[in-house]
Every structure is written in C-alpha cells, then in structure tokens.
Amino acid sequence: MNLIISILTLLFTPSTLAVTIRGGTSLLYATLGEIFTERSGILNLGVEGMMIMGAVTGFAAAFKTGNVWAGVITGMIVGGLLALIHAFLTITLRASQTVSGLALTLFGSGLASFLGQRLGPGGTPLVGRIGPKFGKLPVPGLSSIPFLGQAFFQQDILVYAVYLLVPLAWYFLYKTRPGLHLRAVGENPQTADAMGVNVAGIRYLYTIVGGMLVGLGGAHLSLAYTPGWTEGMTAGRGWIAIALVIFATWDPGRAVVGAILFGAINAIQLRLQAQGTTIPAAFLNMMPYAFTILVLVVITWWEAFSRRVGAPAALGLPYVREEKG
C-alpha cells in the first residue's frame, strides 16, 4: 500500500509527467504507424526491426550531417523501405504475414547491430558518440501554465508533432474519403474492390506509411528521448506498440491512453531507480513487459465479454480476387 501511494505521489509531479509524455511519444508514433498498417488488413510484426533501424540510421544521419532533421527523414525513409519489403512479400508474393513480419524484425535487428558498429567516422562504432539532438522547445505562454506547462509544453518538437498527428489521424480515418477506403480495404476487401478501390495499392501505401511512422518513433528515441545509439536500445518497444494497437482497438485516440500508460510505467521505473529503492533494478526493468501482458489479458477478456468488434475483419488475410474458370 505504501508503495502504491509513493508511486502515485511520484507520478503526479510535473517532471515525472514530462518524462511520461516524452517516453510515450516514440511508442505513440510506432503505435499510430501500426494502426494505419493493420487498418488496411496487413499485420506487420516487423515493428521492432523497423524501429531499431529508424533509431540507428536516424542517429547516424544526424551525426554525419549535424542536422537532426536529416536524421528524422532518414529514419522515416528507412522504416518505409523496410515496410516495402514486407508489403512486397505479403501482398504481391502472398507470403505469410506473420512469418514475414518476424523475418523483418530479425533482419532489422541484425542490420541495425551491423550498422551501429560501422557507421561512425571511418567505419568505427557509433556507440558512445555524441551527436546533435532535439532540445526542449518551450511553447511561449503555454509552458508557463503552472504544473501542466512543465509537463506538456516544455518538450521537444517531435512531441508537439505527435499532439497534432493524433487528431489528424483520427480525422483522416473516420471523416475523410481516403480514410473510408482504408477502413473498407481492411474490413471487407471484396466489397472495396467491387467499389473500384485498388486494394493492393492501398495496402502497399499504408504499410509503407506505417513503416515511416515507426521509423520516426525510432528516430525520436535516438535523437530526443535518450540521445545516442546503444545496441538493442528499442528494448521491445516495437512489440509493446503492437500490443498497444490491440489495447487501442485500432483507434488513434485510444492509442494515446496506452502510450501515456506505458510512458508512466517507464517514468515510475526511472524515478524509483533514481531514488534508490530496495527493489532490484531487474524487477523494475521487467515492469513494462509484465504490464504489457497484464493489459493484453484484461483487454482481451473485456472484449470477449462485451463482444465488441475490434480488429479489422480482414486483418492478416491475403486478398486474391475470386479465381474464375
């Protein structure tokens, strides 16, 4: 009980909230990206691989050019290119989406490790290099609101960008024609096809868009949240993002709740560690993973109970036009 109270009092300080938001941001980019991809009916389990590639190439590009934006753009392009492999394999060549996604994660992790050891100046490792990073950019006026200002408006620009991206994604998905097409392709590709929507084209498009957002999430990690490159720095965030898509029931708005929840877990863990608690660090580090399982169990249970329709109906299923004789 004491622990719970001390966790709560820890959480509601402006600095912990600020860390919560910052830590949740890269997760939110990845979750939003995977929501777009899965909404089109493509399950991409390569999030972890794309994210870590976004982190390493983003940092390397920023380090080489001295420009953080070059890093962001590189991370996005690399994420998109990796997603293109998945799209080609699963849409054109009709390979298993599960296995292709796993392959992408394994391939991406290996390639990131390789690049991390070669992309420093003259082929040296990137580990330990200090490169440019996104600094805090207080929003004039808003940042001086007591409490909330420090938590929400003294952040880096990629955090503000995600504040805008969420309502935009929501509006796009539910209120625009291309958003309708996207949802139709994921729910009922036969009907979408009959309506004249290019099913394969849309699936390609949103798999790539999803990969770009995931790559951006990775770049946020290495350029803003914990600037620099360390091997395995995504530490399962890509997989947590996939769990958050389920938690969010494929809705960008709910994804925010999930990202904040996991940002908070992260922040609590860091605070407890900094305070010197008696709980061993390993157990604190387990928290996000154990919590992911817990959240997944609760949400699955609740969904079965309330019979809510969650996943896009055609998620994971390849679409081939009826073969006629």
Partner: protein, 373 residues
C-alpha cells in the same frame, strides 16, 4: 506498368520448385549480403570464404559449429511443433533462459544433497519442466481467453532474460568470483559428458532423440494427426471433435520443454555456470531454423547445423577481419525473406501471356501487378 504475367494456382505444390527454392534463396541472400559487405568496404568473397572455413574448415571449427547447433536444434524442434498448429511461440529464448535457471539451481543448491548419478537427470527434468511452465503461461492465456500468444511469449522473453541477469549479478553471484558476473562453477557431477577433445556434449543426443520423438508423434500417433489437422484448418478440427485447448497446452509443454532443455544443456554442457551469454538469440534464430526446415524434424536438424555454421562463421570474421558478427544475423534474415518470397513458386505458376490481356472477359488473377503505384 502491366506485365504480361499471369499467376495461376498449381493443383499440387511443385516438387521441383520446393527443391530448388531453398538453394536459390540461399544464393540470392548471399548476393544481397555481398552488397551490404561491399558497401561496408569488405570483399564479399574473402568474407564468405573466411566464414565458411571458420565454420567447417577444421575439426575444431566443426565441433564449435556442432556446439552452437545443439541449442538451435532443440529450440528449433520446439518452435516447429508449435508452428505446426499455428501457435506462434516466439518465446524459445525465454524458455531456454528459465530452463538454464532451473538446471543451475539444481546444480548449485541440490547437487550436494543428491547422489552424483542423479544430479544430471534431476537437472534434465528441472530444465524441461521450467521451460514447459514458461511456455504454459501463454498457452493457458491463448487457450482460455484467446490472448495473442506472439506478444505474450515475446514479453516473457524479456522478463526471463532480466531474471537470469538478476540472479547472476545478484543473489546467485559467485562470492569468490572477484565481481565476475556469474554463479560459482557447478560441481563436476552436474557437467554433461563431452565428446573426447571437443566441447560437443550430450545435448546433441537430446536433440536427436527429440527429433525422433517428434517425427514419431507427428507421423504415427493420433496426437500428431490432431496437431496436423489443427494446423491446416482449426475450424474443421473443432468440428471433428479435436480439443484445441488440450492440444495447445500439450504442444506448448513439449515446445517450451525442449527450449528449456536447450538452456539446461547450455549451462551444464558448456559454461558449467549461469553467466552472461546464455541468451544470445538462439531462441530467435530457432524461428528461422523451424521455418527453413519446413517444420519437419529432419529439416530442422539440418538447417540448425547450417545456421550454426553461419553464426560460428560470423564470430570468426569478427575476430579475423574486424567485421561485425551481425553479418550472420543479416544473412539469416535475408535467407528467410528470399525463402518466403520463393514459396510463391511452389504454390503458383507464372505464365507469360502471349495474346493481349482480355481484360473485360477474364478478370486477371494478378493482384500484385498494378500495386507498385
């Protein structure tokens, strides 16, 4: 762009294609890896030659390849039986870790109280049981509340790996180890016997026995028949009165248990203690092993040996050529990509269309042709 290509489903999978695809995939992966090596300023041919010699060139390197093949075989067999019924067990890494923990626990705290001849059998059972329990958690969650097993098994990997680290950095750390992160060395009764003059240990026999067992189960028993039916069509299986719940639980006991055995064999056959380097990704490579081995036990053994060679070759070029060992991981991933893509050709036939496409009459089956836009 519209290609005059037509994709037609074959009536039965092409034998020629099934045979050729793995080799062509390997070749393409090597070419692809070569491009990456070139861009990193390394000569692909000399690198590959060094990898090949490093993995299979001498008696020593061959035995090291075999040493790495053992956990890949055990985990690969475990993963493949789960994949057979479309249960995506991505958790072999964690199951291996807890198997190692359990076996180490027996060796460190039970060996003195047990007769020497019983130490290894108890470690064997403990390793299998720990892996099986770790695998049962996602199985129970999947069987009863349909929780996504991919994420649960994966999250449990991270938890298990942190737990191993906690133990050898913390309460199980060797007090006489000068701060070295690892437990004390096990008493000799807890060492798996080795092949004379090599590090190849009895775990190899576990793997071979497991392959025979799985082959018999799949081909000769009602249980194996049920697993295969579920894998082909879960809905039909339930209509036929096959219990999904029971099969998920049983298969995951076996799958997790085999990975747990791999962990037991690693600590007891190689390191003789719990230390850093128990979890080096065998559980993940096992996914590739299982898939490239076509989920067939003999295929798994063969591919495990090849991929172990790739890993040993990767370590070799790290030492001799200062190239990252991760080259091996890149190649693994690339082989899997090309295999996945190539499988299309075993199931479908590509045909050039002679005449102009009669679009209005025959809706084309080529779904991918206009999709690059």
């Amino acid at each position: 762009m519209i290609l005059p290509l037509k994709v037609e489903k074959r009536l039965s999978p092409s034998r020629l294609a099934s045979f050729l695809v793995p080799f062509i995939s390997l070749l393409l992966a090597l070419i692809f890896g070569g491009i990456i090596l070139l861009s990193a300023g390394a000569n692909p041919l000399t690198t590959y030659k060094a990898m090949l010699l490093g993995a299979f060139g001498s008696k020593y390197s061959l035995s090291e390849t075999m040493v790495k093949a053992i956990p890949l075989m055990l985990c690969g067999l475990g993963v493949s039986i789960a994949f057979r019924m479309l249960f995506w067990n991505i958790g072999a890494e964690g199951q291996l870790a807890v198997g190692g923990i359990a076996a180490a626990g027996v060796a460190l705290f039970g060996a003195e109280r047990l007769p020497d001849d019983l130490v290894l059998p108890v470690m064997f059972v403990a390793g299998f049981a720990a892996g099986a329990l770790w695998g049962l958690v996602p199985a129970l969650l999947k069987a009863f509340i349909r929780v996504n097993e991919i994420i649960v098994t994966l999250m449990m990997n991270y938890i298990a790996i942190l737990w191993v680290e906690y133990l050898f950095y913390g309460p199980w750390k060797d007090p006489a180890g000068y701060g070295f992160p690892g437990t004390a060395q096990f008493p000799e009764a807890a060492w798996l016997p080795r092949l004379e003059g090599t590090r190849v240990h009895l775990g190899l026999a576990f793997a071979l026995a497991a392959a025979v067992f799985i082959w018999l189960v799949l081909g000769r028993t009602k249980w194996g028949y049920e697993i295969r039916v579920i894998g082909e069509n879960p809905r039909a299986a339930t209509y036929a009165g096959i219990s999904l719940v029971r099969n998920i639980l049983l298969v995951m006991i076996l799958s997790g248990g085999l990975a747990g055995l791999a962990g037991m064999a690693e600590v007891s056959g190689i390191a003789h203690r719990l230390q850093k380097g128990l979890t080096v990704g065998y559980g993940y490579t096992a996914i590739i092993v299982a898939w490239l081995g076509k989920l067939n036990p003999w295929g798994v053994l063969l591919v495990a040996l090849l991929l172990a060679g790739l890993l040993v070759g990767g370590d070799q070029i790290q030492i001799t050529m200062q190239l990252p060992a991760a080259v091996a991981l890149i190649l693994q991933g690339a082989i899997l990509f090309f295999m996945l893509g190539g499988e299309l050709f075993t199931r479908y036939r590509l045909r050039w269309e002679r005449r102009p496409v009669e679009k209005a009459l025959k809706p084309s089956l080529v779904e991918g042709k206009g999709s690059g836009s």
